[in-house]
């Protein structure tokens, strides 16, 4: 197996995740897409650690999984808050930063 195939797979997932983050209007779906991105990264890390025959990469992957869990928790909480305040989780309606 070549390293490239894993990296390319990761790249593809990453790109798709980016698309999701940018294109979806539903907050929850955006969070999901972020998970996709994180997974792409994980694949890279694990692949590299497999090449280098060390466990560091895998450990980082584990950390990322943990952090992802935390992130989803907080993220969903915010979505809920949003929903409670605006009865909507449509990100395109949230433009408090508009200049």
């Amino acid at each position: 197996m070549l390293l490239n195939q894993f990296l390319l797979l990761a790249a593809a997932l990453f790109a798709i995740g980016v698309y999701g983050v940018l294109a979806r209007r539903n907050g929850v779906l955006v969070l999901m897409s972020i998970e996709l991105i994180l997974n792409a990264v994980n694949i890279n890390l694990v692949a590299f650690s497999a090449v280098r025959e060390t466990v560091d990469g895998e450990i980082f992957a584990l950390f990322i999984i943990a952090v992802a869990a935390a992130e989803v928790g907080v993220g969903l909480a915010m979505v809920l808050l949003l929903y409670r305040n605006r009865r909507s989780i449509d990100l395109t309606e949230i433009d408090l930063l508009r200049g």
């Binding site: 940018l22 990100l91 433009d95 408090l96 200049g99």
Partner: protein, 761 residues
């Protein structure tokens, strides 16, 4: 680069600079003279308002002190000139020029003998004293004093006129809105002018040059509540800035050109070194030509030479004392003095010797003519004097152009007195009638203002140049100096400047004529103004008489050589003491005076007076009698009779339309269309690109970012309003405030940059 230094030093033999570090205490410490007025400026600025007489006493005291000091300095110089036996400063130069420099120095000597009777072989070493101002790149930039003939002469003139004007002003501007500020800046001006006079290097010259400019700006705009005044001030300052381009560039060129001849040093501002090296002819001639042309531009603006003279008449918006001091006697001659200072450069640059025409002489000649013509058509007495000042400055520049250095400075010397006298007289008259308009508000003042009348007439005659008053002698010397008068059987001079001679003589006639007109309109006929004018007080009259007296006697300072009944020891004293005989001064030759020329010029002047006198004192007088009122011109004059004459008259009244050219076309153009266009470009093109392209098109035209922008930004702003790219439009659209759009930009930029990095590494 030490080895280079030694190498250069070994090959170099000292070039005599014609200056010395020795000399008496007074000469070495001439910096005191500018320092005193400077002190009074600070003093007046901070304490003036609290003083009983608003700080004027401080100004008068310090300037008076400076005057006394300059007199002492002059005395010290007279002693130094002939009796100083000190060390001359030599400068190591890259190319060996010992015999060259020596030759030129000794060339002076025997010219001195043949042409002028200097003490044989006794050079007049300028007294040189410097301190280091700042150092850069191993070059020490100094500030200091170079005291020699011209400097001392100027010191005396400036301090004297300045003192008189100070005294005069105490009455003239009494109770003015900004009495204190007026005196403060009068002092600052004196300080800057004196600093300019004793400048030892071109940088210092440049600094003081700009300082006198700004003083004139402030003083012209003294009554800045009225827009015309501030406009005039702006005009003066900007015109001078235009000339300063020339000064800056010229100084830069000279700096490096001289540096190329000095080992181990990339430039030098020193005036002595510059002139001396120019004399040796080892500086590139091209550089000298370009430099002299640039400096000439500066002279044109500062000394009101043709094309850049238009600011001077407007400058009359300032208080009359200012006009007298700055715009007649001292500041405007700064340009002339600068030429005289850098004469080595100009002499080589314009190759004055042995030529028959050159830029400087031409400009001077034209100026003197056009100035005189314009003086005819003025109603405002100060404008008459202003244009006559322009014309007289033209004389000086012309004289320098034809190589009559001494004559030029002598004319500067005498002109300072009689022109100041005239201005102060005009001021006194105007003070009485509260107006400067000769035709509507003056006339017949001779009865009520006897002192003003007499002094003004004396000044006018001196200006017209009738013997034996001051103007005659200096003007005559200039004619002699042109050397272009073979038909009068003269010899000598630096070339055959016949053309200049013709211009000069014509102007002499014109001058006489317009001064006659001015005198008539002001003092003869019946009073046309309102109220009852009365003679001014002593603090105005006394300076008038002093100046008038000087206008009479100043001419005797430089009686021509070989004048009968005059002992040898009294001839050409001015030339002897003022004209440097040193290697920083070119070897100019002097024309020999001739009776025929003097007679001719006198006759010309008389004819001028005769014509104008006949017109005014006979015809106009008669016409007024007939009309029963005091006329100022014939009801059926030339201009009414002949359309051609009328056209000419209009042409003059419009000042050759130069003002329209500058103000409306050039200035207006720059300020209006051009600037607007530039700004529009800025907003619509550059900023428009930025806005339209979002942050990525900072490098508009760079394909990558541009395309990226088209995609992303367009995607965001759904292509709307791209056409209407008023400032703000597009870029604000990027700022939708939506997180996702920012994220898009973030990702995309990151990727693009990553791509760049991949490409580069």
């Amino acid at each position: 680069m030490t080895e280079l230094l030694t190498l250069a030093a070994s090959t170099a033999t000292g070039l005599p600079l014609g200056i010395t570090e020795g000399g008496s205490w007074l000469l070495r410490n001439a910096w005191l003279i500018p320092f005193l007025p400077g002190l009074s400026f600070v003093g007046i600025l901070f304490f003036g308002k609290r003083m009983p007489r608003g700080g004027s006493e401080l100004g008068v005291a310090f300037v008076g002190l400076a005057f006394v000091l300059s007199l002492l300095t002059a005395a010290a110089w007279i002693d130094h000139r002939d009796n100083f036996e000190g060390e001359e400063v030599h400068r190591a130069v890259a190319v060996a020029v010992a015999e060259h420099g020596g030759e030129s120095a000794e060339g002076h000597a025997d010219e001195g003998e043949s042409a002028e009777g200097h003490v044989p072989g006794h050079p007049s070493l300028g007294v040189h004293n410097t301190v280091t101002w700042f150092e850069m790149n191993d070059v020490a930039f100094t500030v200091g004093t170079l005291v020699d003939g011209p400097a001392v002469m100027m010191l005396v003139v400036v301090t004297l006129v300045s003192l008189l004007v100070h005294v005069y002003s105490t009455e003239y501007v009494a109770g003015d809105r900004r009495y204190t500020h007026f005196f403060a800046f009068l002092s600052l001006f004196s300080a800057s002018m004196l600093l300019l006079v004793v400048s030892e290097n071109t940088l210092q010259l440049l600094v003081s040059w700009e300082l006198v400019g700004v003083c004139s700006f402030v003083l012209i705009g003294h009554w800045w509540e009225e827009k015309p005044n501030s406009d005039a001030a702006l005009k003066a300052f900007l015109t001078n800035r235009v000339g300063d381009i020339g000064l800056i560039i010229g100084v830069a060129i000279l700096f490096f050109t001289v540096g190329s001849a000095l080992p181990g040093q990339f430039g030098s501002f020193s005036i002595a070194e510059t002139n001396a090296l120019a004399g040796t002819g080892q500086l590139s001639h091209t550089a000298l030509v370009v430099a002299s042309c640039c400096l000439m531009a500066a002279v044109m603006s500062k000394s009101g030479q043709f094309l850049l003279h238009t600011w001077l008449p407007d400058a009359m918006a300032g208080p009359t004392p200012v006009s007298a001091l700055i715009h007649a006697a001292t500041m405007v001659v700064a340009g002339v003095f600068m030429i005289a200072r850098m004469y080595g450069v100009f002499f080589e640059g314009f190759s004055i010797g042995g030529s028959s025409i050159n830029l400087m002489a031409l400009i001077g000649g034209i100026t003197t003519l056009i100035g005189a013509c314009l003086a005819f058509v003025q109603r405002d007495i100060k404008k008459v004097l202003a244009y006559s000042t322009i014309s007289q400055l033209g004389y000086m520049v012309m004289a320098l152009g034809v190589g009559a250095w001494t004559a030029a400075l002598f004319h500067l010397f005498t002109h300072a007195f009689f022109k100041a006298c005239l201005f102060l007289g005009a001021g006194s008259a105007a003070h009485a009638v509260h107006s400067f308009d000769m035709k509507s508000d003056m006339g017949g003042l001779r009865k009520v203002m006897p002192h003003t009348y007499r002094t003004f007439v004396i000044g006018s005659i001196a200006l017209a140049g009738l013997p034996p008053l001051a103007g005659f002698w200096s003007k005559d010397e200039i004619f002699v100096g042109t050397g272009g008068w073979g038909l009068f059987g003269g010899t000598g001079g630096n070339g055959a400047y016949t053309f200049m001679l013709v211009m000069g003589v014509t102007t002499a006639a014109l001058t006489a004529a317009y001064m006659t007109r001015c005198v008539y309109l002001t003092f003869f006929g019946e009073f046309r103004g309102h109220g009852t004018p009365h003679e001014s007080g002593p603090r105005i009259v006394v300076p008038l008489w002093i100046l008038a007296g000087l206008a009479i006697v100043a001419g005797f300072g430089n009686l021509p050589k070989g004048l009968p009944l005059v002992p040898e020891s009294l001839q050409e004293r001015f030339g002897h003491f003022v004209e440097p005989v040193a290697s920083y001064f070119p070897g100019i030759s002097h024309g020999t005076p001739s009776w025929s020329l003097a007679t001719a010029s006198t006759l010309v002047v008389l004819s001028g007076i005769a014509v104008a006198g006949w017109y005014y004192f006979v015809k106009v007088e008669a016409a007024s009698k007939a009309a029963g009122e005091s006329l100022t011109e014939l009801p059926d004059g030339l201009t009414t009779k002949y359309p051609l004459a009328r056209m000419g008259h209009t042409f003059l009244v419009q000042k050759y339309y130069l003002d329209h050219l500058y103000t409306d076309v050039i200035a207006g153009g720059t300020k209006g269309p051009v600037a607007a266009a530039a700004y529009k470009i800025d907003q619509d093109v550059i900023d428009g690109v930025v806005n339209a392209a979002g942050e990525n098109a900072v490098k508009a035209g760079n394909l990558v970012y541009h395309r990226f922008d088209q995609l992303v930004v367009d995607g965001i702003v759904n292509n709307s309003g791209r056409a209407s790219s008023g400032a703000g439009g597009e870029l604000r659209k990027i700022q939708t405030g939506k997180v996702q759009d920012y994220a898009a930009i973030l990702f995309a930029s990151a990727m693009v940059l990553a791509g760049v990095l991949i490409v580069i590494v």
